[in-house]
């Protein structure tokens, strides 16, 4: 592959740029449409740039949905969930990676096996449990059940296994208890992996749809995604596309901004861990 790359670089760039265009185009189209007056046509390649841009559609969406509240809900659920999963997954990953305890391998295999069972199977009982706990329509329902995930522990273990055992020993000689070994020695040295896992978790939770659709039962408690999903039928049966696109832009943009800030921690750090095996 390398040889081909050196001989043929322009072709590589053309193909990569084409794919970039394909990746970005729907998003540009979305933003462009959201700025169009509802009277303007949305089809046709020439209508990519709105003739007379307007922010009216954004005002209309804001009038239709409690967007501020929905955004706040998404933010609370995503950030609390992310904080919990980063902490619990790295702690468990540390235990699996750096301790030798009876039953470790069986427990870890069991953990991996849980990934094969789709959580949707238990969706009816999960709803009943949430109802019994009085967690329907609360943030707890979305934060707690997935506070520690198998895939997160797997990634963290892959990464933390490489942490030098001698440093841990030294820490113990200096009088560190086990939790402080984790907190003060291990955690600071694995921040790239933590950041990568945090980015992935935050994206997944922000974009989550089925669980909030099921467990959030009032417009005020909807997350942004559930709220946006009802947009097409929010104004009778046919909300104009530019108004819908204003809504989706609001739902997508914050995350894209976060992504651009955090892109240096991209998943590469973690995926490398998965590959090292």
């Amino acid at each position: 592959m390398r040889g081909a790359g050196r001989r043929n670089p322009p072709l590589f760039h053309v193909l990569l740029l084409l794919w970039c265009l394909l990746s970005v185009f729907p998003l540009l189209w979305m933003v462009g449409t959201s700025l169009k007056p509802t009277s303007e046509g949305i089809g046709g390649l020439r209508s990519m740039i709105p003739g007379s841009p307007t922010a009216d559609n954004y005002a209309r969406v804001a009038a239709l949905l409690p967007l501020l509240r929905n955004t706040l809900n998404s933010f609370i659920v995503a950030s609390a969930g992310t904080a919990a999963t980063v902490f619990l997954c790295s702690l468990a990953g540390f235990a699996f990676g750096k301790y030798d305890f009876p039953g470790r391998d069986v427990l870890f295999l069991f953990l991996l096996a849980t990934m094969l069972v789709p959580p949707e199977v238990g969706i009816v009982p999960t709803f009943l449990i949430m109802k019994r706990l009085h967690w329907i329509n609360t943030y707890w329902a979305l934060i707690v059940p997935r506070a520690a995930t198998a895939i997160g522990i797997f990634y963290m273990r892959q990464y933390i296994t490489g942490f030098p055992t001698e440093i841990m020993e030294q820490g113990r000689l200096d009088g560190c208890r086990e939790f402080r070994v984790y907190w003060q020695l291990v955690l600071p040295s694995v921040t790239p992996a933590l950041a990568a896992w945090a980015t992935i978790s935050f994206i997944a939770r922000w974009n989550d749809f089925m669980w909030p659709l099921l467990l959030m039962r009032s417009r005020e408690m909807y997350t942004l995604m559930v709220s946006i999903a009802v947009l097409p039928v929010a104004e009778g049966l046919s909300t104009p596309w530019p108004v819908i696109m204003a809504g989706t832009t609001i739902a997508v943009l914050p995350l894209i901004c976060v992504y651009f800030v955090l892109q240096r921690f991209q998943v590469s750090g973690l995926t490398l861990g998965a590959v090292k095996g």
């Binding site: 040889g3 979305m30 235990a95 699996f96 789709p118 949707e120 819908i244 989706t248 992504y259 590959v275």
Partner: protein, 290 residues
């Protein structure tokens, strides 16, 4: 040593409460007839028998298998292709490409689902206006039983490919360059290098991708829910969508649980077949199990 158990305990406690317990309860429910209000009625295997004669379920199952097959072929092929391009590109811009190419995976399925619905719209969608400007007829992408699965698949491939592209890229970076040099000495061209060095070296990573994407695509829900509502008819309905509908729209809780168990069974059979076929070929399951 006791610390270790405390450190890993949260996962197992949460799994017990919100994973295993619902799973067992769901199994019990699958043998009951229950609407959530009146007393349950034990009906043995009747829910499963009904499922096999329920055309809507059979359609949903067939659609889901098709989503899986098409998605996995397109996603993994494209992801490998893009990863090779990224790896082979020595002119720089690597970071730029990686950031931009990953963008689709950051966007919410709900939001881009609506965007793609607009692009595939019969009257005002971009895709039909491009077709018409080429002198072709616009097609009722979202409103015909024959075509409605296509937009769902396009969205899924667009959104998920970048994820596997990154994983495969890490895999490529881990390949020993000497293998390529040796291949060149033996007179291998680009295609032979791909077949004899790249793909064998990526075997475990590809297996990991295959398994995780199989599980994910069998659970497809949001794409058809947003774009077509599963319709027209049941032409784009997925299994999880039908599960959700049975449980929370028509309140056939036992029936919904039975659907869930059929889905699990399908997944376990396919995963087992994958692991088995890999074992037979004598490879090591390194990427999957660490």
């Amino acid at each position: 040593m006791r610390h270790a158990y405390v450190f890993i305990a949260p996962f197992y406690v949460l799994f017990l409460l919100f994973g295993a317990f619902p799973l067992v309860w769901s199994l019990i429910l699958s043998f009951q007839d229950w609407d959530g209000l009146r007393p349950m009625k034990a009906v043995g295997l009747r829910n499963f028998a009904l499922l096999l004669r329920d055309q809507r379920f059979l359609d949903a199952a067939a659609n889901t298998v098709l989503y899986w097959a098409v998605d996995i072929v397109f996603i993994l092929t494209l992801a490998l292709f893009m990863a090779i391009l990224l790896q082979g590109n020595r002119l720089g811009g690597k970071r730029f490409y990686r950031v931009v190419l990953f963008l689709p995976n950051v966007t919410a399925t709900v939001a881009v689902g609506l965007v793609f619905s607009m692009l595939f719209d019969f009257n005002s969608g971009l895709i039909n206006s491009v077709l018409q400007s080429l002198g072709l007829h616009g097609l009722p992408w979202l409103n015909s039983t024959g075509l409605s699965k296509i937009p769902v698949m396009v969205l899924n491939v667009w959104r998920v490919t970048p994820w596997y592209m990154l994983i495969l890229l890490s895999g490529l970076q881990a390949i020993n360059p000497e293998l390529y040099q040796a291949a060149v000495v033996d007179g291998a061209g680009p295609v032979q290098k791909l077949v004899h060095v790249t793909i064998p070296s990526l075997a475990t990573v590809l297996f990991f991708c295959f398994l995780t994407e199989t599980i994910d695509s069998f659970r497809i829900f949001t794409e058809p829910y947003i774009m077509t509502g599963g319709g027209p008819g049941a032409s784009s309905l997925s299994i999880v969508q039908y599960l959700y509908e049975s449980g929370f729209t028509v309140f056939k809780l036992g029936y919904a649980s039975a659907i869930g168990y059929v889905l699990t069974l399908m997944l376990l059979v396919i995963s087992a077949a994958q692991v088995f076929s890999l074992r037979r070929r004598g490879s090591v399951v390194g990427g999957g199990t660490g």
